[in-house]
């Protein structure tokens, strides 16, 4: 190791090392801080949550594994039921036509985000229905 960096002046090594260490610390602190702020709903007002949008996209694309990852830890039976539901949904001819974020609000560690979903069934019939997500700690704890 001494031969690899020995030719570099000590001052330069010190400068690079401090910048690197500081950069790692700054990156980690910013990432942790943004996670806490998002989970607590600080400064979010009525803005759409990234987790809520991700959940809705996975729901409409019938990504059962992705949905389970965004829900609180469940028992294996509940996860299996979710997989079955997703498989049945995939076999249907329901097609998502639109996804509209209506709004949301945060309080304490909970945030509510409401969407309007438009789908078209196998008979061509279109339906517009709402979905309200309740998030806590970045996970969807309630869907109405």
């Amino acid at each position: 190791m001494g031969r690899l960096v020995g030719w570099i002046p000590a001052t330069v090594r010190l400068a690079v090392g401090m910048l690197f260490v500081g950069g790692v610390v700054g990156f980690a602190l910013a990432a942790a801080g943004s996670t806490v702020v998002a989970d607590q709903g600080w400064f979010s007002g009525s803005g759409e949550s990234a987790q809520a949008r991700t959940y809705m996209i996975r729901l409409l694309s019938r990504d059962a594994a992705g949905l389970n990852a965004m829900r609180p830890e469940q028992d294996v039976i509940s996860r299996a039921l979710s997989e079955q539901s997703a498989q049945q949904s995939q076999q249907s001819n329901v097609k998502a036509l639109s996804l509209t974020y209506l709004g949301g609000q945060s309080q304490g560690g909970l945030s509510v985000h409401i969407y309007a979903v438009e789908v078209q069934g196998s008979g061509g019939r279109q339906q517009l229905f709402p979905l309200a997500l309740t998030l806590s700690g970045g996970r969807v704890v309630l869907t109405r």
Partner: protein, 138 residues
């Protein structure tokens, strides 16, 4: 000289911290792009505003006049905290957005208050409005 060196080290470290934080914000993906089209947003429907005011004022008479029995039952079921307990002390009812298509209007609200156990609660619900009347609550 030692003080100057210490100041340099500290300045470099702080500069690195700031740079790392900036890099994290720049590279943060944020909200993923919506792959589906979105419907246009509309203003708050009048009947939704009236029901929201009745909820906030605990005006049961106004609610009975504005909302059909089936929808009122659905509204009661919707106003349950995430813990499954009814919200009995309404602190705020806020309209967050609405959209409409083919004669159906969806008006979304967020209610905050306390449940029967005194725990803070936040609930989202949506009025299904057709021909100026609330026909359903989600």
């Amino acid at each position: 000289m030692n003080e100057a060196r210490a100041a340099l080290v500290l300045a470099l470290f702080v500069g690195g911290v700031v740079g790392g934080a900036v890099l994290q914000r720049v590279t943060d993906a944020g909200v993923p792009q919506n792959p589906y089209p979105s419907l246009d947003r509309i203003d708050e429907p009048a009947v939704g505003a009236q029901v929201a005011a009745a909820l906030l004022n605990s005006d049961s008479r106004a609610l009975a006049q504005l909302v059909a029995p089936e929808a009122l039952t659905a509204l009661r079921d919707a106003l349950m905290s995430p813990m499954g307990t009814p919200v009995v002390d309404v602190r705020s009812v806020r309209f967050v957005g609405a959209t409409a298509k083919d004669g159906t209007t969806l008006a979304a609200y967020v209610l905050t208050g306390k449940d029967v156990q005194g725990t803070d609660a936040i609930v989202g619900f949506v009025f299904d409005i057709q021909n100026g009347e609330i026909v359903g609550v989600n």
